[in-house]
Symmetry: C2
Subunit: 561 residues, 2 copies
């Protein structure tokens, strides 16, 4: 008899698992079941459909050559039998049977499997909120949601996005581009929590505000008000008028089926799987948003639901379910988004995450142009590297800016996967020509700074600490070592100017025992000033990490003496 492979859920993970299972074992009978009407769609493209960047929703469901991936396509091209509009309501592991319910016909039936793949995905995590059921309070997860949101997103209206994560920000941009007034409300004290550390997130926030989006952080939503349709969002801090509300709160894995069937659920609340994507039942695999995976830096279980991972895991599940052999080791939590013209990404651990895991961390903030500075179109990007002080091992990278952030995240992801140290990262043979990077790529420079810090040659101080020292009126010298012209244009209130080129001659004018914090545009010259002062016997000199470019607080514009 033919091997019967049944896959539940027909989006990224399930469609991939089914397609691969059939290629792997052409004699298997592969059935793909989906409760919705759409299958194999790019949910990640929804924000671009909402903003009209992608004109037709069909493009999100088509192959690169324009063929719609519908049931007929899967049947003819992939050799996979697809059943849509049909929910799997339970599964019986004893008899290896799934019970199905076809919505339109209200018909229940069942299907036997030899191997089952759970690819049930995730759903928006919706906390109970007052008047949640008012009209125009929407989520963005599936194609139907996208169509509804696009219909309701009419120029001149006011939108409120609840949640300042990836999907919240992408949706905010989409609605702003459609001409709506947009406010983002985030419970935590920063945007993109879990993706960026606060100072990096504030660079994104600044950019979003410059594009006309209101941002309210540290603001908890209590509920909504309106008659029939929503007209305001109620928060602890007051009301926000809104004709359309988008809930973008993060997602919860769909584990009901698995749980009821007694499959092991992991510590993250997602389905527990081994490296073969096997569940606690040897006949059942899971993949994609419904299951957890291993973080390659910490070795701990995590739930990071992404389309990239869903496809990789689906492929592994498909191979194993059809009699092959494959493993998936885990992820780095790599994430990225573009919002307006800024790119923001991370891989590995943020500083907050690393500290929470108990690492003694060293960090680097390194802003610089993404190409040779003389090359037209070079744009700034800021990198933040996080490393384990004990071993020099790179724990994570964050990158924000209008330039090529994705490239540095990907190279770092590859390096971190293999446990790269600061020294190894600094010597990577990255591709250099002026249209692509500086002779020493941003990543190489960041790694050099890290090596300097780890060896005690360089001493940085974070913007947050310097802000605190200024606010507390601490007795220290904030030393701007840029040129007079740069100093006049923009600066940090309270700084003293001695251009780097003059520093060696003006050492006498500075007290040797006072704390000195040097800075420049990016703190390259700030670091050189530290070296000069160190050598001259100054006792307590540090440079402001990242200089003016990553200073997340207010800057003096003009008027520098």
């Amino acid at each position: 008899m033919k091997l019967r492979v049944v896959v539940i859920g027909a989006n990224a993970a399930g469609a991939k698992a089914a397609s691969k299972a059939k290629r792997m074992n052409p004699h298997a009978e592969v059935t793909l079941i989906e409760r919705g009407n759409f299958i194999s769609y790019g949910a990640c493209g929804i924000p671009y459909f909402v903003s009209d960047t992608v004109a037709d929703v069909k493009e999100l469901m088509s192959t690169p050559v324009g063929v719609v991936r519908d049931a007929a396509f899967f049947n003819k091209v992939k050799g996979v039998h697809v059943i849509t509009g049909t929910e799997v309501v339970s599964l019986d592991r004893q008899s290896r049977t799934v019970q199905l319910f076809e919505k339109e016909s209200a018909k229940a039936f069942s299907l036997e499997y030899d191997r089952l793949v759970l690819a049930t995905g995730s759903s928006p995590s919706l906390p109970p909120l007052k008047n949640r059921d008012l009209g125009n309070i929407l989520t963005v997860k599936a194609i139907e949601d996208a169509e509804l949101l696009k219909e309701r997103a009419v120029t001149g209206k006011r939108a409120c996005i609840v949640g300042g994560g990836l999907i919240g920000l992408e949706t905010a941009e989409a609605l702003r581009q459609k001409g709506l007034e947009v406010t983002i409300v985030e419970m935590r004290d920063q945007l993109l929590p879990g993706i960026l550390d606060p100072e990096m997130a504030s660079l994104v926030e600044r950019h979003i505000r410059q594009n006309g989006v209101e941002v309210e952080t540290s603001c908890r939503v209590a509920g909504f008000d309106g008659t029939g349709v929503v007209n305001k969002v109620l928060t602890e801090r007051g009301e926000i008028p809104a004709d359309v509300v988008v809930l973008a709160p993060g997602v919860t894995p769909n584990v009901k089926l698995a749980k009821e069937a007694g499959l092991e659920i992991g510590p993250t609340g997602a389905i527990a799987v081994d490296s073969r994507m096997g569940t606690s039942d040897p006949a059942i695999y899971a993949c994609g948003d419904c299951c957890e995976t291993t973080h390659l830096v910490t070795g701990k279980k995590v739930h990071v639901p992404l389309g990239s991972t869903a496809n990789k895991q689906g492929r592994v599940a498909g191979i194993n379910a059809s009699g092959g052999e494959a493993t998936f080791a885990g992820i780095l939590g790599t994430s990225i988004l573009r919002v307006f013209s800024v790119n923001a990404g991370k891989t590995g651990l943020t500083e907050s995450e690393a500290r929470a895991q108990g690492y003694d961390v060293e960090t680097v903030l390194s802003p610089a142009p993404d190409k040779a500075h003389f090359f037209p179109g070079a744009k700034p990007i800021a990198l933040k590297l996080v490393a384990d002080r004990a071993t020099g091992r790179i724990l994570g990278l964050q990158a924000v800016g209008e330039g090529a952030v994705d490239k540095r995240v990907d190279a770092a992801a590859a390096a971190i996967t293999f446990g790269a140290t600061a020294d190894q990262l600094s010597h990577l043979d990255l591709a250099y020509a002026p249209p692509y990077s500086a002779a020493m790529d941003n990543l190489i420079v960041a790694a050099d700074i890290l090596k300097n810090k780890l060896a005690g040659h360089a001493r940085g101080i974070s913007p947050r600490k310097v802000r605190q020292m200024l606010d507390d009126g601490d007795d220290f010298i904030l030393l701007d070592v840029r040129s007079p012209a740069e100093h006049a244009e923009v600066g940090i209130e309270g700084a003293t100017l001695i251009p780097l080129g003059a520093l060696r001659e003006k050492l006498e004018s500075l007290p040797k025992d006072k704390e000195i914090v040097t800075f420049c545009k990016i703190s390259l010259r700030g670091y050189e000033a530290q070296k000069i002062l160190d050598a001259a016997g100054f006792r307590d000199v540090k440079f402001l990490d990242g200089g003016i470019m990553t200073w997340p607080y207010e800057l003096r514009r003009g008027g520098g003496a």
Copy 2:
């Protein structure tokens, strides 16, 4: 007494070594000697100065904030003493002395060192050619060359570039942009030898031709003709009229000083160094274009003169020369260029290089859009992966296309550094969102294809072999599995059409024992067709690697039945 560090050669490697030596040991006396008049300039930017992309040559010698890096700058900012216009004519290792000759004053003098750094760089390798000394036969290496070339490169003139490597191609573009007629003459049978395999190079060649540049490969230059100034280039295959000739033949390390002083010269002809950049004399270091390094894939010594490497090596030499401790493990031969709107890069070994090293290789050709295909601005790139069949280890990546080639090269460089296998590459947690890649990045897809090939699931055949079979009139079926519309638009002469979606129903129409080569636009469907035919008992089915997109030969345009 202070440690006296003398550095010979004041461009990328030397300027870096000197600056770092002084930071590392502020009490050292660091002297940087240069025979030319310019120091610390970005030679890599020369083509962009020639094309007017960079307006002022000073930009190539300035810091990102616009300060010119002249002798005064090095003195004041870096604490390094610079002597220009002065050649080191010999060095006496016994007395630790260098003999100098100042050109303008014709004055000879000497200087003692405790530690010496050789950063003498490289010079164009100029074979003896007939009438080489005619006017307007130029090279591109230093700022003076750039200024001269820019002066002579006048619209309407005819230029001939001798050498189809990185610098030749970049210069060809620059001159074309200035309105000259341009011909590239390359001795070998392809452009970019040593950087790309032939089929990848031909994609670049096609692009360059489309931009109006003539390309003559397999063409050896014998000499020049003209009266006073050149007016033609003499080749084995005839004459090429030219008012300006640029010799771009590759470079030779400047090892005269080192050789005469009895320092060890390595098998590549460059100065031999250990991982501390130490030469055979413990008081002397070398870095940059003048020395060799280790290839991290083969473990063999190589000479790959690049500005990126020069900076890294300079830093290591500077640290060690001033009493610190650092090592440099080696390189991957990573190279990249942009020519017109195509990007071409490589890291690790090409197929030719790998075969020459004795590896049993497997290769993949994988063309695909560089972003989600539905995302506006997505552009195609073609990847070629080369792997060791025995271990699955990735040996190299080449990438060509209008899209983000550099990102894939850098991620692969990081992975290859750590000995990544196909399976590890395929599971890298690369950053995905629609503006950056497909859900499965091009690199992931290429690695999956590689795994399929290594496991025997996928069988490819190279374009070259298929072209040969067609030319020989071999008895096989070339099966186009695209849609009728795609087939009508463009195709390969001699192919039979059965769209993939119809293949399962039309199996009867194909003979089971004949050799079948399937293809589509990129050979994804070609591969699926192979799987379907395999399962149906067809005995000899392969897909054309890379499909239409990387077919380096003529394509039928229109007229597909």
